[in-house]
């Protein structure tokens, strides 16, 4: 897919309709295939996990990449209790949407930093949503008193498989450690998202925006983590296609 082509298609237009950005070279069908399977207006990315995993930073990098490539973008972040082990989620809409909340069932990508949170976010997805998730769990502190146990990872994966045709599971914690630091976990997952077929942003453009948002001294590790995530998802996609 020609990324520049897609950029032109969703170029910022105040209050425009899809038809406004139609290029004579492409049909409506091409557009919906290339841009967003799920939503008429924008390319939707739902990101969720637990406080402290670097979710906000990752989301800002995606948003800034979109902005720097002349795409319109809005983002919502809910993190009132983020530093205290609570759930953190962000919603990014790249395209002409005014609202920053993703409608039920209309995410193009669900990027889950924690397996349990992936299941909790399923209401934002549909069969065509690509799910990229980290398989290392963060068990809630109160699990001893919890009415429901933490599900087995296999149970989670099969539940996700029932809901989406594209599930890409990564042990992002392990990959981050291999890259050099556990805190590069968010870049592993960002790399994984960037590898999805039809992801709206170009890999190199994302890396540029990473450089502006991450400390220079950790860039090497973060880049390594990003590439590991990217390669791992690409590999899973190639296997599927065989």
């Amino acid at each position: 897919m020609d990324v520049q082509y897609v950029y032109r298609c969703v170029m910022k237009k105040p209050l425009g309709y899809r038809s406004d950005f139609m290029d004579e070279k492409i049909t409506q069908k091409d557009l919906s295939n290339d841009l967003s399977e799920n939503s008429k207006g924008s390319y939707n990315i739902y990101i969720c996990g637990v406080g402290g995993q670097g979710i906000i930073k990752t989301s800002i990098i995606i948003g800034e990449t979109a902005m720097n490539n002349d795409l319109d973008v809005v983002m919502s972040e809910i993190h009132g209790m983020s530093q205290r082990g609570g759930v953190v989620s962000t919603e990014l809409k790249i395209g002409p949407s005014k609202s920053s909340i993703i409608e039920e069932g209309t995410s193009d990508i669900l990027l889950a930093f924690e397996p349990l949170e992936a299941v909790r976010a399923l209401h934002k997805t549909n069969q065509n949503t690509a799910l990229v998730l980290n398989t290392s769990p963060i068990v809630p502190f109160n699990i001893m008193d919890s009415e429901h146990p933490y599900p087995k990872i296999q149970t989670i994966l099969s539940e996700l498989g029932k809901n989406s045709r594209q599930v890409y599971a990564l042990d992002a914690e392990k990959m981050a450690r291999e890259a050099g630091h556990i805190l590069s976990l968010n870049m592993v997952l960002l790399g994984g998202a960037a590898a999805i077929d039809g992801f709206i942003l170009d890999k190199e453009a994302i890396i540029k925006s990473m450089e502006k948002n991450l400390p220079p001294k950790s860039m090497e590790i973060n880049l390594k983590a990003f590439n590991q995530g990217y390669d791992a998802v690409k590999q899973q996609i190639n296997l599927e296609n065989k």
Binding site: P14, S76, I78, R84, H148
Partner: protein, 643 residues
């Protein structure tokens, strides 16, 4: 992005800004000279940004002791002729409301904007009050931006308007606008004189009965004049079929709306309704009110004149809806209005596109949605029947509050007080998390500082033992008058000041108990202990809460004290940034000694203590802060500090 870009960014440059960050840039572009706040989510980041950039931007900024003082600092600056900005969460305006009502009367000389960040759906608040009521209560103009770019532009507009009409402006955001990130194109930063001068004029600035009567008349006259300009304000816009219709063409363009359904919306509610209308190609014109009070009556009347019915889309209370009913009644017009009053839209919580679609269907408005289309086929939406454990927020590993809760439990057991005979009035802060098991240390809460005031009431109305909690910042904010009240009126309870050396819940802002101010400069440190003693309390003790045995014994004595006992639990929050940790103790569990009593797991509920696959107690050394509370409470001495 580096936050400095908010000051350094050039006109025309685009930044991906949080609504709260855009508010700061808007204030700078308007050339403000003074900004003051008390931190409160969802407005907290505005203060955090000012705190970092105020010096560079040549602005005076302070974290005031509470919202009332913050508003007063800003009001005085505006009286002296410079532009000032104060901002707070919605309930903060309740605290500031006394002076807020008066500054509407006195008016201003330099521009003054008061930003209220409301919290529909209560992501981090005790209520979801709609502060648009305050504009009506005080009789001041109200602006309602829908996104970060608008926050910045509306700020500038607000300052101009305030200065022209000599009236403070209320700018109302909601969580979804304050915490929305979007592309913001920067404008020029105006350079304005930073020092003002108060021209003495008591008739203008001192509302005593004789002058206040004149002031009120003047206020009403100002609002009458604003009523004339609001109809043409560029903040009010009409959108129809993907185009904006210029207000000056409304006379001719409104014919297109003949017999149609029309929408009047504001704030983030506008975002949801326009997305639904645009995506579903609905033939519905929208009037967006960015400048919504005084109500643009002529504009509304023109907009609705040919409509078959009107939908009012607003969060949270049916405020515009009632005003519109009133306006129609005043003009003797009969028109159907759908909104909250007829239950088309929900009465509570924030909206989103899904709620809007449902509501449109309820109002029998043909949304033209093709249900066979995947997009709106609910069965296509992902779902799971798995029962999932919840993930409630909790006190951090090493949090000193946990140690206090545990020590109090020990003290209660030692004194043989029944669990139900010890009650815990609590306050606004992290310690509200004590509501959860196993602590269950939260029995009553109203507002900032209410722990002490309500303890006064409980101590007279019951014979139960009382231990109340409030933090250091909350103590300064609203705890001192009720403490004096408690001593003077001879009440009996234990007051715990959880002094964790920061305003933790909102992200770690300084408070008067610290030797640093909002600009990052050295400042006199105010002693809570001295204040407590000066208030007349005879029992005042400062403890290190991590010493469980001593803490428990202090509480035993405090509970026996006949009067107000003040216990100051002084230990820094583990989240304070840049804090050099004392050499962290590495804790391990000696499985040979552990008898599996599970007290550490079930009574402390520390996120770092868990059971591994074999069912053994395990301490996660990565997250553990080495507070050693678990070491002290383990009866078998199985938890040890690794040598």
């Amino acid at each position: 992005m580096n936050l400095e870009q908010i000051v350094k960014g050039e006109p025309g440059e685009k930044l991906f800004l949080l609504g709260n960050e855009a508010a700061v840039r808007g204030a700078l572009e308007a050339g403000i000279s003074v900004a003051a706040t008390y931190p409160g989510t969802p407005s907290s980041e505005i203060g955090d940004v000012f705190s970092k950039i105020a010096k560079k931007a040549d602005v005076y900024f302070e974290f005031s002791i509470n919202e009332k003082v913050a508003l007063e600092v800003a009001a005085a600056a505006a009286a002296a002729g410079v532009r000032s900005f104060t901002f707070m969460k919605h309930v903060g305006l309740n605290v500031a409301s006394d002076s807020f009502m008066s500054v509407a009367y006195t008016g201003v000389n330099g521009g003054m904007v008061i930003l209220s960040a409301d919290d529909p759906s209560m992501f981090s608040s005790q209520n979801e009050q709609d502060n648009r009521h305050y504009a009506r209560l005080a009789n001041v103009p109200l602006l309602e931006p829908s996104n970060p770019q608008e926050i910045k532009e509306f700020m500038k507009y607000g300052f101009e308007l305030s200065e022209e009409f000599k009236i403070p402006i209320l700018l109302r955001t909601t969580t979804r606008v304050s915490h929305m990130r979007g592309i913001v194109e920067l404008g020029e930063i105006q350079s304005k004189s930073k020092k003002g001068y108060l021209e003495k004029n008591p008739a203008q600035y001192v509302p005593v009965p004789a002058t206040a009567r004149i002031m009120h008349r003047e206020l009403v006259e100002k609002m009458d004049k604003l009523q004339e300009i609001v109809n043409d304000s560029p903040l009010n816009q009409i959108f129809y079929q993907g185009q904006e219709i210029e207000l000056k063409n409304i006379d001719t363009e409104k014919n297109k709306f003949q017999g149609k359904i029309g929408v009047i919306a504001s704030g983030s509610a506008f975002n949801y309704i326009i997305d639904v209308i645009e995506e579903d190609n609905l033939d519905i014109p929208i009037l967006k009110l960015g400048f919504s009070y005084p109500l643009p009556e002529d504009l509304i009347l023109q907009f609705v004149s040919g409509l078959e019915k009107v939908l009012v889309v607003e969060e949270v209370d049916p405020i515009m809806e009632k005003d519109i009913w009133g306006l129609l009644g005043k003009r003797g017009l009969l028109k159907e209005v759908n909104g909250k009053l007829d239950h088309t839209f929900p009465m509570i919580y924030e909206y989103n596109q899904d709620i809007i679609r449902e509501s449109l269907e309820k109002a029998s408005i043909d949304t033209g949605i093709d249900l066979s289309n995947d997009l709106h086929n609910k069965s296509e939406i992902g779902h799971s029947d798995l029962e999932l454990p919840q993930r409630p927020p909790t006190l951090c590993p090493g949090c000193p509050h946990r140690a206090v809760y545990y020590a109090i439990k020990k003290a209660r057991e030692n004194l043989k007080i029944d669990e139900k005979d010890l009650i815990f009035p609590t306050d606004i802060g992290c310690y509200t998390l004590g509501i959860e098991a196993p602590y269950k240390a939260a029995d009553y809460l109203l507002s900032m500082g209410s722990s002490i005031g309500t303890s006064c009431g409980f101590s007279r109305a019951t014979d139960q033992n009382i231990i109340c909690f409030l933090g250091d910042s909350t103590f300064f904010h609203a705890g001192i008058p009720p403490l004096i009240n408690a001593v003077h009126n001879k009440h009996k309870f234990v007051l715990t000041v959880l002094d964790n050396r920061t305003t933790a819940m909102t992200g770690g802002q300084p408070n008067p108990g610290l030797p640093v101010d909002g600009m990052g400069e050295l400042a006199p440190e105010i002693s809570i202990e001295k204040i407590a003693k000066a208030s007349g309390a005879e029992f005042v003790e400062t403890i290190n809460p991590l010493n469980i045995k001593k803490t428990a014994s202090v509480y035993e004595r405090a509970l026996k004290h006949d009067g107000v006992a003040v216990v100051i639990s002084k230990y820094p929050c583990v989240l304070i940034k840049g804090q050099k940790p004392v050499k962290k103790a590495l804790l391990t569990v000696d499985q040979g000694k552990c008898d599996g009593c599970m007290d550490c797991v079930s009574q402390l509920a520390c996120p770092s203590i868990s059971l591994n696959k074999e069912g053994d107690v395990e301490i996660d050394q990565l997250t553990c802060n080495g507070c050693t509370v678990c070491v002290q409470m383990c009866n078998e001495k199985a938890i040890r500090v690794q040598k």
